[in-house]
């Protein structure tokens, strides 16, 4: 038996609502959950977020769009901006993974492929708000995928 007597407020509210059945899952939510499986990348290393130190004298909120991820010896930096209700993404992979490397910017609904510049940079504009992951494909090595991140136009 589950010990509801030690549950926190939100767990207890969730259990009461679940048992009562008045807030069913919308069909599109279930459909989106099913479609997530199509995004799996067997063998990929997941790059987890690492803290980005705010430069001294700059308020942290001003760097809120800068994200950094690391795995497999690679660092992926993403600068998220928005315009016209859409998301613009500028990124950099370092160290440069080599001339044949490419990145995929993935959302649950679309994938954009980009070659890296000689400095390891790439950009995609006009993405819809939502979950986003950047995958770096390197010949002969496992791909590195940034942990899924929710981005929304400001």
């Amino acid at each position: 038996m589950t010990r509801h007597s030690s549950a926190d407020d939100e767990s207890l509210i969730a259990a009461l609502r679940l048992a009562c059945g008045h807030d069913p899952v919308p069909g599109h939510v279930t459909a989106a959950a099913r479609a997530v499986f199509g995004l799996r990348l067997p063998g990929a290393a997941t790059a987890r977020p690492v803290a980005v130190p705010a430069p001294s004298g700059v308020r942290s909120a001003e760097r809120a769009g800068l994200l950094r991820f690391g795995a497999g010896g690679l660092t992926v930096e993403l600068d998220v901006d928005s315009s016209g209700g859409l998301v613009d993404l500028a990124g950099r992979v370092s160290p440069h993974p080599g001339p044949d490397a490419r990145v995929e910017v993935r959302t649950p609904d679309l994938t954009e492929v980009r070659e890296l510049s000689p400095t390891g940079q790439f950009a995609v504009v006009g993405l819809p708000g939502g979950w986003l992951s950047v995958v770096c494909h390197r010949p002969g090595l496992a791909p590195v995928a940034t942990s899924w991140t929710l981005v929304r136009p400001g």
Partner: protein, 185 residues
């Protein structure tokens, strides 16, 4: 429940097995994030994000019995992060992430993660033994998930500022009733 065969099929890339997980756990995840007061749109993003997290951690799956509580914990964490973001806090320095679904830290099942129909009925029977305004408050809270505090307070005949403290007191009382029942069983 989810068995080892389903997990192995998911790991082998079987969409139908993944759909079994989705059918089994999406209602729990949805309830978990809605309990934080997320709108349907925010809750939709959070549920999708929770499944994406499982996808990232698939290779760590060992024990099918722990997937439910892992998803529940992950969904709650994503809901809290979204609430913090909406208050303008930074999102880059994530709080500690839960380990993979095979992690040892998820041995304790969160209350709703493995809720059975019997336990759901027992919960509501406990509510029915409570005095007002708690009984009506819980019924309203469960049947009108998108009602605002002002609306809920109005229907309970109390000032909007009293709703939060009253809800806290009622939840504490419900826990006490449940503790007595658990001690007696």
């Amino acid at each position: 429940m989810v068995d080892q065969h389903t997990i192995e099929a998911v790991l082998a890339g079987d969409q139908a097995a993944w759909d079994v997980l989705v059918r089994r756990f999406t209602p729990v995840i949805w309830a978990a994030v809605r309990a934080y007061g997320l709108s349907p749109a925010d809750a939709s993003d959070t549920v999708q994000g929770t499944w994406l997290r499982l996808l990232e951690s698939l290779h760590t799956i060992r024990d099918p019995d722990r997937i439910g509580s892992w998803l529940f914990t992950t969904a709650r964490r994503e809901a809290v992060l979204l609430l913090r973001r909406s208050r303008g806090e930074r999102l880059t320095a994530d709080p500690a992430e839960p380990g993979g679904p095979g992690g040892a830290e998820h041995t304790a099942d969160p209350a709703a993660a493995v809720l059975t129909a019997d336990e759901g009925r027992r919960l509501w029977r406990a509510v029915e033994t409570m005095d007002e305004p708690c009984r009506s408050l819980f019924r309203l809270m469960a049947t009108a998930p998108d009602a605002g505090v002002r609306q809920l307070a109005g229907r309970l005949g109390m000032p909007a500022g009293s709703y939060g403290p009253t809800r806290r007191r009622c939840l504490d009382r419900l826990r006490s009733v449940l503790a007595l029942q658990e001690a007696a069983s």
